[in-house]
Structure formats: C-alpha cells, structure tokens
C-alpha cells in the first residue's frame, strides 16, 4: 500500500494520530521536500516519528517514482507531504503511477495552506482561483497570474497567492556544466511579493489601464501559519511592501473587496497601525 500522508503546517506534532501510526509501521518513509517545508527540519521529524526519512526531491519524485513505488504492492510505503498531499498537483502523478502498477493507495489528509488561511478571518468559500507568485529574474518577469487576481477581485473573491520556494536550484553556470551544486534555498517573503505586485500595478497604469488592484487594496500577509510563532498582518498593498513577518513560509492574500462585517472585524485583530513608518509584525495567535 502506498500511503500519502499530510504533515500539516507547523511542526512534527501536526501529523495526525492515524498518520503517525502508519509512518511508524511502513517499511520505507519518504519526505517530499520541494513543494513546501515545515519550520522544523528532517532530523526533528525523524526523532519524533522514530523513523529514518528518505528525502525525495523533485528529480526523485518526477523521474524516479518507480523507486518510491518499489515493492509497495507487498509492503507499506509512506510518502510524506507538508500540508495536504493534494495541495500540490504534482502528487497526482504518483497516484496515477501507483494505480497503473496495481498498487493500492490511501490518503491521510491534513491541513494545507489552502484551508488554514481561514485563520485570518476571511471566509474560505469566498476565495477564487489560487495563484503562484514566482521570483522575478532579470530576464523573466511573468505577470500572467495578475489576470487571475483581477478576475477574482472583479468577482468579489479573495486571491490566495502562494509564494515561490527555491530549493535545490542550480545556478545557470552549474546547470550548463552539469555540476550538481545547489544554491542556498530561497523563500519569497510577503514584502517581496507585494513589491513585485506593485510594480505590475504601476506597469498597467503606465499603459493607461485603471488597475483593479492599487496601492490601497486591502491585503493580508501570513507567515508560518499553524506554527507557534505564526504572524498575520492586514493592511494595504503598499504597507505589505515593508512589513517584516520573519522567517518562511509566507503567503499573501489580496482581498476581494466587499468584506462581510465578520471578516472586517477579524482582520482588525491583525491590522497594521496606520501611521507606522515601518510596518510592524503583528503577533498572530
């Protein structure tokens, strides 16, 4: 049996009791380590689970999935994913390969950022399409996600922006040389995402468009959702550009306007003081 097990969002103890039982009895346990990360490292998980974990990077999962599935028809193999196993679309592929090989599978769900963002008080059913914001480079500055944000906002829907994670990336030079030397991991912060967004807003304005999103659009920055030191800050897009929410992972919500009074009241728990020259961190419960 292949078990896809969500680890939730905080630390080692956010696994479910059911998930932990399965992890402890499986013959091999993989940890997917490229679509998301926990605030604690592999060693902390290994200690709490009482099991050695095999790190599965993107190459492994996409190119050597058969290794992961080996003998899963006669023994139990666990594939651990931060958040929920189906938060990242890439894991459907593993399920399909298992199905083709006649290997049964089970999913043990957990919280993912897609539902845990509800903690800021915005109503989950009012979220539109989720978008991803990637790190811009000198030559690659994609803006296409912005159309989805605009569409959501025109429809009164909030947009959850998942922020880029660069883990085990090679520099162009190393890639060309075929050197398996990896850059240090990078995680996009709320302020970096807000700055890129603001640049897009300004580009659209230069082109004569009245942008659906402006400097004044109400946004919510979230950091380390589900962890003890989670932080949430509600303020304008302009304010998000300078907010410092601390370590990764960060997410950004662009509200859809027309908030329900309960939403407004909840966000007020996290609002950035209006006159703060440098926006401060808000301690989220």
């Amino acid at each position: 049996m292949l078990y896809l097990i969500g680890l939730g969002l905080g630390d080692a103890k956010d696994i479910t009791v059911k998930g932990l039982e399965v992890v402890r009895r499986c013959s091999r346990v993989y940890l997917e380590a490229y679509t998301s990360v926990l605030s604690v490292g592999k060693e902390a998980l290994e200690e709490f689970y009482g099991r050695k974990l095999i790190l599965a990077d993107r190459e492994e999962v996409e190119q050597e999935a058969d290794n992961i599935l080996k003998d899963a028809d006669i023994s139990d193999v666990a594939f651990l994913v931060v958040g929920d196993p189906f938060g990242a679309t890439t894991h459907s592929d593993l399920v399909l390969r298992a199905a083709k090989l006649g290997i049964p599978y089970r999913v043990i769900h957990n919280a993912s950022i897609l539902n845990a963002v509800g903690c800021c008080g915005l109503q989950l059913y009012k979220f539109g399409e989720t978008v991803s914001i990637v790190f811009w480079t000198d030559t690659w500055r994609p803006e296409s996600f912005f159309d989805k944000v605009k569409k959501n906002r025109r429809n009164g829907m909030h947009t959850l922006c998942l922020l880029d994670i660069k883990v085990k990336e090679q520099s162009l030079e190393n890639l060309i040389k075929g050197k398996k030397v990896y850059e240090p991991p990078r995680y996009m912060s709320v302020s970096q995402a807000a700055q890129q967004l603001l640049e897009i807003v300004q580009n659209h304005r230069l082109q004569g468009e009245e942008p659906a999103i402006t400097e004044e659009t109400l946004c919510v920055g979230l950091a380390r959702v589900g962890a003890e030191d989670q932080k949430i800050a509600a303020g304008t897009l302009q304010q998000m550009c300078t907010v410092d929410l601390g370590g990764p992972l960060h997410s950004l919500i662009i509200t859809g306007g027309n908030l329900h009074p309960l939403e407004t009241e909840m966000l007020s728990l996290f609002s950035i003081p209006e006159n703060s020259s440098e926006s401060q961190c808000i301690d989220g419960p």
Copy 2:
C-alpha cells in the same frame, strides 16, 4: 487559553498529535456538532481522547458563547470542530468574543472538506467560490447559488457544493408550540443534490436560457472523504442523480470544463461505467 481544534474528516484518530495533547489537558472540551459530523459518534471520540465532551449545538455556540469562554482566561478550554475550525464561518464569532474578553486563543488546524476534495484529482487551485445546496421544501426552493456555479464554470473553475445538514431541527409545529422536540438528523446525498440541480437546469431552459450546466456536465460525487470507506464517483450530472454513495457526509463537485490531462486521468479512476442503468458505487482509495 481558548483552543479551536480541527478534528479532520474521518474518525477519532484524525486529530493531530498536537490537538490530542491539548484536548487531554484542557479543563473543558466542547464538541461543535452542527456544521459537520464525523462518521463516529461522540462516545467513540470520548473513549479515544480519554475525555468527556460537552456537545455544543448551534444555540449554545451562538447564544451562550459566554459559557464556553467562562474562565478561559485562567484555564484551558478546547472547542473541537469537525474538519478545520475555519471551514465554517460561524466560528469567527467565537474568536472575536474571546478577543473582546481578552482571552488568548490558538488554532490547531486540520484537513477540511475544502482541501480534502483534492483527493479526486481535480486541482485545488482551480476551484472557484464554494456554494451550499440546501434541502428544498414545498415553499422554499432557493436557486440563487446557481449563479455562482455558472460564474465559476464560465471562468473554467470547479465548484464545490457543500450539501445540507439538518441536525436538531424542529418541525414548524413544534417550533410554534415551543416544544424542544427535534426531527431525526438529515444529510443531503449527492443524488438528491443532483436532482435539485437538474430541476434548476430545466427551469432555466424553460425560460429560454441556454444553461451553462446541462445533464451532460461532468461532476464528481464524494462521500465520507477521509474515512476508510470513502467513495468517489465521476460522471455526468444525469448520472449523479442515481448514484448511491452510501451514508453521509456527501459533497458534489461541478467541474469547470477544460480539464488538465492529469485531472482527466485522475477522474478516470473513479468514473461511473457508461452503460450502468443504475450507477454504482466506486470504491475510492
């Protein structure tokens, strides 16, 4: 401290390790029992948690929230919610009351139906606004949610339809007489929801509209997501009208069209045989 703890979707063991530790040390533990239910009853939870649970119905939570929050400033109180605490908007209210009383709170997240539906293979980021379908009565047949379904579909987005739960409802007669006698709980099935939907489609057609949804629109029915006996069936809206997915809780997805090849391939794992006169249950992993 007030702890809002998600129980996940399956049975007693779907609580997180962190959540279980908190439940076991809190001075009072409430179980919210009206927005969703687990496949196991209160007694099974009490046995596994090793704690007595206080059932909190809608009246209690909405009208007597102060009882729940009593002494939460000097002791720990847990409020357990099936799925994730913020899956239902009603729980923001409890958080706001706590905040007003100066009671700190923490959220322990878990899977909710909003993210666990990813198990059918439809990509979560492509879901639009979530809707609720309620039981029609002779005099109350709301159709307004259908506009949201149409809008989602026009935008290529899937729609998750949460299906009605009637727990602790009074008959009109008992309500008028002020008798606290409650009707047996009712849970809307996928086939009931599909039948109501089809009636709306036909109404729209009678009014000369070309409906965005037809009998042939691809839908996915899900039952008891996260439980051992979870079932998923993919087929047309017409097929959903006769599908029998067993006991509650059920959810229905109306796809947005334009599926990604991975989505199509995943759904094929659950497709209803084309020529089945009575649609059969598909065993979901």
